[in-house]
Amino acid sequence: MSGHVSPKTVSYTIFASLMVLTGITVAVAFINLGPLNFPVALSIAIVKATLVILFFMHVKYSSRLTKLVVATGFFFLLILFTLTMTDYLSRGWLTYPVGAGAPPAATQAH
């Protein structure tokens, strides 16, 4: 067996960092950052997830293949999100004069 053995101190350090980040994300939730709320919360979550993946799950010390597999998963997840949102976010773009139409004269007077 040639699995990577990480020292206990690494595990404890990672745990402590995760706790700190949890504290930060909770604290930040009570501050109104306007449109930044979501990106900040998400970024902290991504950092936390990355720590778990790299250290608790040993990906930092794993083969290139494992790294590739992990990256592939998130890459396709991103495809799902971005291409779907391409539709939703551009729905209103095609504008034509909404007054469009030639209402019959009779109904125009008011």
Binding site: M1, M57, G73, M85, Y88
Partner: protein, 225 residues
């Protein structure tokens, strides 16, 4: 094709846990790890569908999302986050104990992990029970006061779908760990072969990661508005 005998055929000695389709323990271990990672990728995509729905309706109904988020108990959610990250730590230590050949420690860390997982689930049950009391469970009996009731229902639908599936994964993980702990107790693992411990560890950490996203997305977002 050359029919020269391969090296491992003459190697002779096989580990008891070596399956017939593999040549070496190393090959078997690598295959198991790769298989587990590929499985976790499918899990990512599985939860991905839910996150997609979450993303869309969050963009559509930001106000309802803020209202719904405020309905969730940040204290319980926060405690659960700490508990689950703690269980990830104990899991990592269990794997380390198995790698380095300390079966007693392996069992103990696994039991600690299961205990923390149990705490998480119990807290989750209390959260759900509270929602049931308030008729906040989406469906025909759903009641919610406020201007965005219908959109909040979607938020809570997603809340239940996401946390419910997550909890289901926890339950499965709990079952897995009990088997692994028993095997460790029976001294089935050694520094040469601890694949099941490592696999369960990967699974458990994955479940933790899902929660790392669920917590801010469901409990925290737009709370300050």
């Amino acid at each position: 094709m050359s029919d020269s005998a391969s090296a491992e055929a003459s190697a002779g000695r096989h580990h008891a846990a070596l399956q017939h389709q593999f040549d070496t323990m190393e090959q078997q271990q690598e295959s198991a790890t790769l298989g587990m990672w590929v499985f976790l990728v499918t899990e990512v995509m599985f939860f991905g569908g839910l996150f997609m729905a979450y993303l869309l309706y969050r963009v559509w109904y930001p106000a309802a999302w803020a209202d719904g988020s405020r309905e969730l108990d940040i204290l319980l959610g926060g405690v659960n986050t700490v508990v689950l990250i703690g269980s990830s730590l104990t899991m990592a230590l269990a794997v380390r104990a198995a790698q380095t050949g300390f079966p007693r420690a392996t069992v103990n860390w696994l039991l600690a992990t299961m205990a923390l997982g149990g705490v998480f689930l119990v807290i989750k049950v209390f959260e759900y029970a509270h929602k049931v009391e308030l008729n906040h469970v989406p469906g025909p009996n759903f009641v919610f006061e406020g201007p965005h009731a219908r959109q909040v229902e979607i938020f809570l639908s997603l809340y239940f779908a996401m946390t419910g599936l997550h909890a289901l994964h926890m339950v499965i993980g709990f079952g897995l760990l009990s088997v692994i702990a028993w095997m460790a107790y029976k001294r089935k693992f050694s520094p040469e072969w601890y694949a099941p411990v490592e696999m369960s560890g990967l699974y458990w950490h994955f479940v933790d990661i899902v929660w790392i996203f669920l917590f801010p997305l469901l409990y925290l977002v737009d709370r300050a508005h």
